[in-house]
Assembly symmetry: C2
């Protein structure tokens, strides 16, 4: 969490750029280069690294390309770690298996890719997630209230007098966070729920997807989620930044959109 706080202060930014670099959506001029996803990411990263606190590549868009995609994901993570070592790499992988098996994902995320954090499903419980939670030097970002329209199906189920997502939040805050390395995923599309979760912990950081293409309201999100230090949020935008322009000018426009989002967020801090 020291690295998190340091980069937020250094770049004065809560913005995370989601590197959801779907190969079908890349600008036409990049489609025939040897490493299209990496070249696209590199241009986005170079254009925005002084404006963000984190990059969040989502594994799905790389795995869709098989081993070539994994290679370009590694190139991307290496590039960030070497050129902008202060900026966080959040691997949006949404993994979780039984304990023995999770060691494989730990190796993938934290050794092979050298990510700082990974997103995780809570369903198998704390015992299964121990290989992640035990890594005091790396972040475990637990799905709590996701940004999708159908997230309520399980997450809003009533467990006693609480909703399921509250139970997840409380377990992570009170029991799983022994190494002070846990964060929660709380979608911008649900500000009331975010407010409730913030009331349970002033210090825990939330990873906040759902701004932009998914329709989350920024002002409401910040009012609901900022902690007493006007921080505590890592606000991720993917499509709204990386695909804002589809011409050879895409990185410049991505910078403009990132700057706009950073300023808009900082108005409320």
């Amino acid at each position: 969490m020291e690295k998190v706080k340091k980069i937020i202060t250094k770049n004065n930014s809560l913005v995370c750029v989601g590197l959801d670099s779907d190969i079908k959506k890349l600008p036409a001029h990049l489609k025939d280069v040897e490493f299209p996803q990496f070249e696209f990411n590199k241009a986005i990263i170079d254009a925005t690294a002084d404006l963000v606190c984190a990059y969040k590549p989502n594994t799905a868009f790389y795995e869709a390309q098989g081993e070539q995609g994994i290679h370009e994901l590694k190139m991307t993570c290496n590039y960030i770690a070497e050129k902008y070592p202060d900026v966080l790499i959040i691997l949006d992988a949404k993994r979780a298996d039984i304990g023995n098996t999770n060691n494989g994902y730990v190796k993938f995320a934290f050794e092979y890719l050298n990510a700082d954090m990974i997103t995780l499903h809570p369903y198998l419980g704390q015992e299964a997630l121990a290989p992640f939670l035990d890594r005091a030097d790396k972040g475990s970002v637990i799905l709590c209230r996701t940004s999708n329209s159908g997230g309520h199906e399980f997450q809003d189920l009533e467990v006693g007098n609480k909703k399921m997502f509250e139970v997840v939040a409380e377990k992570v805050i009170d029991q799983w966070n022994l190494n002070e390395n846990c964060l929660l995923v709380v979608g911008a599309t649900y500000p009331e729920e975010m407010k409730l979760i913030r009331s349970k912990s002033d210090t825990m950081f939330f990873l906040v997807p759902g701004i932009g293409a998914q329709g989350g309201d920024l002002e409401k999100t910040l009012q609901a989620g900022l902690n007493s230090e006007k921080s505590g949020l890592i606000i991720s935008s993917s499509r709204g930044i990386i695909f804002a322009d589809n011409s050879e000018n895409f990185a410049t426009v991505a910078r403009e959109e990132t700057l706009k989002l950073k300023k808009e967020i900082n108005k409320y801090r």
Copy 2:
């Protein structure tokens, strides 16, 4: 599900061999070959393909090796699909993201790897999983009651007068299974819970991990989980078969262990 029933009949087997081919556990003579995970899997597959209904590679053990591992996972899936096309490939990936993103995992599992099924977390709900559920030609295997000792933390939470895993089971059985392509993960370590889930559907297939190294009781599992046709279970053993012997003789011993498990299961069918 036609493919499932066909191979169970053809090989008279409910056995699934889990290809959890952790590179650190491979026999010493394979460690210096070019594709150690693939060569190991190929030997196991050739030794057991007439005795099983499915192979279940778990992505974690391949992703731990980065792009090389993904390459060997693809070689493994290709080998099964080409040489033993009737045998199921269950990709144990435990994925689930928002809908747009799941398309990437669909491409990874069903196009790149040509798997027949993939295991999925339920937490984001039916709406998010639509890209999987809509593939009527492929199986969606939803985590319901997992085999790990800490699985109860969320899965046994009381939701009204039911436990969480029952709610998952009922939603999948009653609402998600429109294309008759859903299965449930129900661990062998919880036979009482399996019996309860079986009482909700006679026809749904369960993928059953937890036999062997995890300590599940085979007789209790079969009494609890077999349906009225003495079928409905795909019983997976990984370490107990593939690492039963660590010498150059490993594949022969794997065959013996697979045959023993197959016969033991069929005693109760």
